[in-house]
Symmetry: none
Subunit: 430 residues, 2 copies
């Protein structure tokens, strides 16, 4: 069979693996957290418990050094090892790896960064883990992956060919006419060592209830850059078997080892019927969720608020509450009338016991010349553009009135205008 699973301590089992037969090792060893971890699966039928209690860090270091040495022995000449650590003790493992593989075979510190549930910690919210990549020799296998250029990159510049000037600095090449010279095809930016991959979600179908389960995408990427189909992958702390599931899906062979019988059974069943939940976030991108309009946010700049996505009726919520309820803000879009915008806001506001829904009016309806019905139930606030056009209109009318009806004295319209001007508290102009 392509994928094998064995119950036991890897320090025993690895001795029977043929030296040089493994192309890539991925380890997710126990962390040095000095805590007991406990988790139930979804239907509460099983509880998984494991300890990260080591007493002192020397014991932990010895435990790891022995096993990492055995992993090294299994590796082929072109092979690589990826060791997953958490930020509290990565230096202990890193020091061991430096000694075993040599500083010159350190390839990368991969940062797996993710967003996740916040907590009340005083300090920064931990949201990354480290993966150390060492190769057995300097001639290691590596498959390049390229990504698109960043949005702010000047694509014209990328396409220009470069050369070195007299001082050895890089400059853009020009031909005899002083024109820029275009470069050959550019494939994109090489994969960076910081990987933003969403944390495996509590609700993901992929999740099997086993603690420490890694997103399959993380393992797919590691397998992708370091192995080819048919290569052999080893995971000596395989847990619920994500590494082997990924290897199986990508047509690699492999061996998974774990001390827990339950873990191995779980891994076996996952390999037989792999579930790989597709992530909307990764597939469609973060922007697909973004509904809070960027222009709308600019209008609200300076306010202390939280932008709201995934809600058509609301653009933002003030951080400050009002009368026990949230303050909801909506900006009128260019294509919608004031009453449409108001209805949309009101509908959302009703469910949230909001006592102060605020609508920002950005334009007038064309059919309503002098006044517009103020929508019921929302507070309407004008944008700067609204105020300006109102002001100019009124003052222009006033000037024209002065010219044409100077003898008639105050008309009704003029009285309205005067009041409007007073309200604006503008300086006396005429």
């Amino acid at each position: 069979m392509a994928i094998k699973l064995q119950v036991g301590d890897c320090s025993d089992i690895l001795k029977s693996v043929e030296p040089g037969s493994v192309d890539m090792v991925y380890l997710d060893p126990p962390f040095f957290t000095e805590k007991r971890h406990r988790l139930r699966n979804r239907d509460r039928s099983q509880e998984f418990v494991f300890d990260d209690l080591w007493g002192c860090h020397k014991k932990y270091a010895e435990f790891m050094a022995l096993r990492l040495k055995l992993c090294r022995d299994c590796l082929s000449e072109e092979g690589s090892i990826f060791v997953h650590c958490d930020p509290t003790a990565n230096h202990i493992i890193r020091t061991i790896l430096d000694e075993l593989f040599g500083r010159e075979n350190f390839r990368s510190e991969i940062i797996w960064s993710y967003k996740r549930w916040s907590n009340s910690k005083s300090g920064l919210l931990p949201s990354h883990q480290n993966i150390y990549w060492y190769s057995k020799t300097s001639s290691f296998k590596f498959n390049r992956i390229f990504n698109g250029y960043s949005e702010s990159t000047n694509i014209d510049q990328i396409l220009q060919r470069r050369s070195r000037d007299a001082h050895g600095k890089s400059i853009y090449q020009r031909d005899e006419n002083g024109e820029v010279v275009l470069d050959d095809d550019k494939v994109g930016v090489p994969l960076s060592d910081v990987w933003e991959i969403p944390y495996l979600n509590p609700k993901a179908k992929e999740r099997v209830g086993y603690p420490t389960q890694k997103p399959i995408l993380l393992l797919e990427r590691i397998i992708e850059i370091s192995t080819d189909p048919g290569d052999f992958v080893l995971d000596p702390f395989c847990g619920s078997g994500t590494t082997l599931v990924a290897a199986h899906l990508m047509k690699r062979d492999g061996l998974g080892i774990d001390v827990s019988q339950e873990a191995i059974e779980l891994a076996q069943s996952r390999i037989e019927s792999p579930i790989r939940s597709k992530s909307n976030l990764l597939e469609k991108g973060r922007d697909s969720y973004r509904t809070a309009d960027k222009n709308a946010m600019v209008l609200l700049e300076g306010l202390d608020l939280n932008p709201v996505h995934r809600n058509k009726g609301i653009d933002a919520i003030l951080k400050q509450t009002f009368d026990g309820g949230p303050v909801l803000i909506r900006v009128q879009r260019s294509h919608e009338s004031l009453s449409e915008a108001a209805n949309s806001l009101l509908k959302a506001a009703r469910k949230k016991s909001c006592k102060l829904p605020i609508l920002v009016k950005t334009h007038s309806d064309h059919d309503a010349l002098f006044s517009e019905d103020t929508p019921e139930g929302v507070y309407v606030v004008g944008s700067a553009a609204m105020e300006i056009s109102g002001l100019v209109e009124k003052l222009t009318a006033k000037v024209q009135n002065k010219q044409h009806f100077a003898v008639h004295g105050n008309t009704a319209a003029e009285l309205i205008i005067q009041r409007a001007v007073q309200l604006k508290k503008g300086p006396s102009l005429l």
Copy 2:
């Protein structure tokens, strides 16, 4: 003087710093790269050379241990140290820090991640550096920073209050009618330990040609979370002095030390006239790369106007004229006061025989609580954000007045509020 700079080896100079007098230490020590670094500044007038040649890592460890120990001695009980490392040797420094400060005082591994130009090496593109944060004791100073919620977050749910069910699992609270119960103010998401800050743009004015120069935003954030104004900041390897420039701008005191006379001179001149190139990339996010001027235009969207570039006093001219002259519009910038903006506009208006200069007010000065002097000669128009904060403030005052002084009848404040509310034509609230 608030900021002091000294030439010399910090192992000598630190001995004369009073123990417990330093609130925060930031170090960007020489890396253990085994290479000689050489860099010229822009006009090639100066060459900076510094060595990272250590022979063996024990020498490097000794060098660092001695100096880190001295830094620890300077720190106050609430103080913190931030040590900047690169991924090739972070474990050496980390191990020393664990011994000196204790594992229990490890606070965070901060990942500074950035995008940068690709090189051709085989492997992953290095695009992060590590900063280790240790505190002297467990009662450390920390100022919280909150960011917006993720685009994929369901804010409706976030606003609900929660409790525990029989199994101790978290559930959403409901009142006796089965309705959801809303929670108090939501501030946002605590700052994560992965910071994406653009690498200093090679063309940025901030760059002075000194190697390993860090973006000032990075230092500002470290200073922000760990110190208050008036606190004392120490940088024993200050180089071109970014730490001290940031400390100076943020009204902290500080001491910078460097072995190089040139570096100290450079740092001195930077502190005397700090240039802070603000990174558009960071302020507006990678995906909305636009300038402050463009933001001003968004505020004016819907008006029929011609944008004006490269004129400090004017942002736009209405296509419509007023009383034979142009209508000039200026948007108050976030860093300028209303009167500054007004003067700037007036100066430009005079040359253009403008009879209607309009100023858009985007924020209040903090010292002016209730009213601000209206500048003479210009029309002031409020932005939507201004109107909203005014509205919420007034209504909140009204609600509170109702509760506390219900029997007193109309107070002066209430009358003002009522008038304001009438003007807004909002719906009757109470």
